[in-house]
C-alpha cells in the first residue's frame, strides 16, 4: 500500500522530478511501484500487461510531473493516471478482437517464486476470486480494488475516478453483491 504517512516527501520529490531530477524520480518510483503494480494487476489480471502499464504510468509521471499542482494528494493524482491507463488498456483490448481476453486471469501469472505461498485449496479459492473479480464491470472492479485492496477512502477513490462519493459507494455495493453471487459456494 502507498506510504500515506509521508505526503510531504512525495510533494518534494514530485517537485524535484518536474525539474528533471532523476534521483528524486527514482525515489518516487520506488515508493509507489509496488502499490501501483498490484492495483493494476488486480484490475487487468495479467502480470505482463500489469508490468507494462505500470511502466507507462511512471513514464507519464516523468513527463507530466510538472502538471501536479499540489491541490490534491500526490497518490490521488498518481492513481488517476493508473485508472486512466487501466481503462485505456481495457478499451484497446476490446477494440482488438482476437487478443487474449482480460477475463482469462489465470493465463499470465507472475513467476511462482514471486507469489505468496498458498496451499492448493487456498490457491483454488484465490483463483475463484480472481475470476469473479475479472467478470465485474470495469468501474466496479477498479473502485473495489482501490478501496478494498489499496485501502483508499471513498473520498479518495471518488477523486481518482473523477466521480462522486455516492457513485463509489454504489459501485462497491453492486460489486460486492455480484461477488457474493459468484462466490456463493465458498462463502
Amino acid at each position: 500500500m502507498t506510504d500515506a504517512g509521508a505526503p510531504d516527501r512525495d510533494y518534494e520529490l514530485v517537485a524535484r522530478t518536474a525539474t528533471g531530477d532523476q534521483v528524486a524520480f527514482e525515489e518516487l518510483v520506488s515508493r509507489h511501484e509496488r502499490a501501483v503494480l498490484n492495483t493494476i494487476h488486480r484490475y487487468v489480471g495479467e502480470y505482463d500487461a500489469a508490468d507494462d502499464i505500470a511502466q507507462e504510468v511512471f513514464v507519464i509521471l516523468w513527463r507530466k510531473a510538472g502538471s501536479f499542482k499540489g491541490n490534491a494528494r500526490f497518490s490521488t493524482w498518481l492513481y488517476r493516471v493508473v485508472v486512466n491507463q487501466c481503462l485505456q488498456f481495457r478499451r484497446k483490448r476490446r477494440a482488438r478482437p482476437g487478443t487474449v481476453s482480460l477475463d482469462s486471469m489465470d493465463g499470465d501469472n507472475p513467476p511462482e517464486s514471486l507469489q505468496v505461498a498458498e496451499d492448493h485449496e487456498k490457491r483454488r479459492r484465490a483463483e475463484a476470486v480472481r475470476s469473479a473479480l475479472a467478470q465485474l464491470p470495469d468501474r466496479q472492479r477498479i473502485a473495489l480494488v482501490l478501496a478494498h485492496y489499496e485501502g483508499h477512502t471513498y473520498q479518495e477513490v471518488a477523486e481518482m475516478m473523477q466521480t462522486s462519493v455516492s457513485s463509489v459507494e454504489s459501485l462497491i455495493f453492486r460489486a460486492k453483491c455480484s461477488l457474493r453471487e459468484k462466490l456463493i459456494d465458498q462463502i
Binding site: E33, Q115, L179
Partner: protein
Amino acid sequence: MDCKEVRRTLATGQSSALISRHLESCAGCREELAALERLDVELNLVGDVEVRPYFMTRLRQRIADRAQGGRSRWLRRTLIPLGAAAVCLLASITGLRIGRAVSARQVTNVATQAGLDLLDDSSTGSMATVSDVVFSGGDDE
C-alpha cells in the same frame, strides 16, 4: 433504518450506532454482515505480486527510447515535408528549363526550315527575337 438501507451501508463497510442497534434485533442483517466479512476474507486471498526485477532499469530505458522516438518523430515531421517541398521545387525548375530548351529547339528547327538568315544571330540574340521573326514569317527582311 430498514434492512435494505442497513445492508447497503454494511456493504460499503460503514457502521453507526443506529446500525448496531438494528443488528441486535435483526438476525437476517447479522447473517448479511457475517457473509460480507467472509467475502472480505476471500477477497484477501488474492495476494500481492512482486515488482519484476530491473523495473527501474527498464523504466529508464523506456524513457530514453521515448525521448529518442520523440526526436525522431520531430525530425520526420519536419524533414519529410521539407524534403518533399524541395523535390517539388527542383522538379518544377528542371521541368521549366527543359521546356524552354525544347521550345527553343523547335523554334530553331522551324526557322531553319523556313530559311531565315536571321537565325545566324540566334546564338547571340534572344529567343524572343527569334520567335518574333519565325511567327511573323520573316516579312521584316
